[in-house]
Symmetry: C2
Subunit: 283 residues, 2 copies
DNA sequence: ATGTCTTACGGAAGACGTAATAATA
DNA sequence: TATTATTACGTCTTCCGTAAGACAT
């Protein structure tokens, strides 16, 4: 049984549709059809009952899929963990973060790691907060610096590393723009934008979402809504068409370090120590 | 991770030798080398420390192999079971047996199955006793008729279907040839041949082994030793250069039906019923 | 008639073996 | 020096997409 046959089988069992299966696997539908055919020949019985209109799994197919899926998942987990293990052993550390404020801290901590662990290679990746945590979960990076609360299982969070005030970004022409402070109640009824998936569960469903901070701020300037941001945004995204107003009584945004419970190599530990020391030095 | 990469990794971990690994996988050593190389590139670290003189697994390799092996075994088990399942559903029954005496019984039982289950396809395979049981264990056949005691786990045995006397095959010119009966003690000190792996644990290591009954009898005729056989052999392998002498006080050879605990399709049950009825009808 | 699965076919990627090379004991 | 892993390279399989066909609704 070949890797691609297994993945085709499991995906088609999920989708029950050759076209969507092909899309998920990034191949043509013809390839899916061919693959299923040779697989059925190998097993010796049809795995799917299908017309050009409907696809369903047979009894033989169902049993095979049920027994196969946990095993194949196990294979993939083993490989992923091995890739992480290899990175540790090779003396590499991948760090992900969001935004320019975090970048500064991360870069300094990285150079501290390089000084303390000569020969260590530190890779930095920037992305949106939600993507950063997905990278961490998938093992693409070893440490993440993120402002999100993070309910992910298997991921540990370190101490708070940065605290910043919560501010509201509003169009420069908006009545609130001139205020020195706003309260939650004052914008409870206006639409509040959220970055895609980034707002977590604390913000109710946003009417519009943006893929990046630049996009989000442009939407705000266009009058599509408002946006809660950290205080650093005022420094790093100054725009004449926007105003940033502190939110009264709002809890501070807390940036933490996150890492996977398993696979904490020396690189991770040193990086976290270095970050904490940098923060304390400043404070 | 491709199927061939996994199998190469696990086999090389067993053998710690590229040549033997290549032989077991029926490929060239170059292919093994190439495959390990791309796998290591994919993981990101060496999996084996190797010189042209010694191969050993690295820490990363060891962990990957430990986690991978049970999962991959599970994948293969799932596929094997599915092939058996498919055969049942398709209305097929594969029966294995040894020797012409068993053949007669099996053929009659097979035609009874075909009569009772119209459209059922019954396939017969003949092989040496030990091979027959290996086929059963590996799922190549559904039922086996064999004279061996069978200590295999996961395999169930049915009632005794045929009993026959134990006889000793000796060269026609041998002093024992003229006897009407011999006792165990009389040939305790002469070499006794065994078919390869077939004698099980009840016979001590044989000085020579043969792959088939014909070969074994030829060795006996050539004076290489003697052979314990069932009484039917006298009827089906009559030879002028051999004599068959009953063994006094020896336990009878008992032929039983065997099948796997899981995967007992209707074909298996009907076949066993039919065989029992045939035997009772004769008795 | 339209959406969807299957078949036919050709080009390209890579699988794989042979043979030469390098390296170790 | 003998054994064994690696590299280079050419061949040939088979992978896989395009496009046309078949089928159900």
């Amino acid at each position: 049984m070949e890797r691609f046959e297994i993945e085709t089988l499991l995906t088609l069992a999920d989708e029950l549709h050759f076209g969507r299966t092909a899309a998920r696997l990034h191949v043509s539908t013809a390839r899916v059809s061919q693959t299923v055919r040779v697989l059925e020949r190998r097993i010796g019985a049809p795995l799917f009952d299908r017309t050009s209109r409907r696809v369903e799994v047979t009894a033989v197919g169902r049993r095979l899929i049920e027994e196969l899926r946990p095993m194949w998942d196990g294979v993939e987990r083993a490989v992923d963990r091995s890739i992480q293990h290899a990175r540790q052993v090779a003396g590499e550390l991948a760090v992900a973060f969001s935004g320019p404020a975090a970048a500064q801290l991360v870069v300094e901590a990285a150079s501290a790691v390089r000084k303390r662990l000569p020969g260590f290679v530190v890779r930095l990746r920037e992305g949106e907060p939600s993507q950063v945590l997905r990278w961490l979960r998938d093992g693409d990076v070893d440490v993440a610096l993120s402002p999100l609360p993070l309910p992910q299982p298997g991921v540990e969070s370190g101490p708070v590393v940065v605290r910043e005030a919560r501010m509201l970004a509003v169009p420069a022409t908006h009545p609130l723009a001139g205020r020195s402070v706003v309260s939650f109640e004052e914008f409870a009824r206006v639409p509040v934008l959220g970055e895609a998936e980034a707002s977590g569960s604390e913000q109710s469903a946003a009417p519009l979402t943006a893929g990046s901070m630049h996009e989000a701020l442009t939407l705000v300037a266009a009058g599509e809504g408002m946006l809660q941001v950290g205080a650093h945004v005022r420094r790093y995204y100054p725009r004449p068409d926007l105003a940033y107003v502190p939110i009264a009584g709002a809890p501070l945004i807390e940036w933490r370090l996150f890492w996977r419970r398993q696979g904490d190599g020396s690189g991770v530990r040193v990086f976290c120590r270095a970050t904490s020391e940098l923060v304390e030095g400043v404070a």
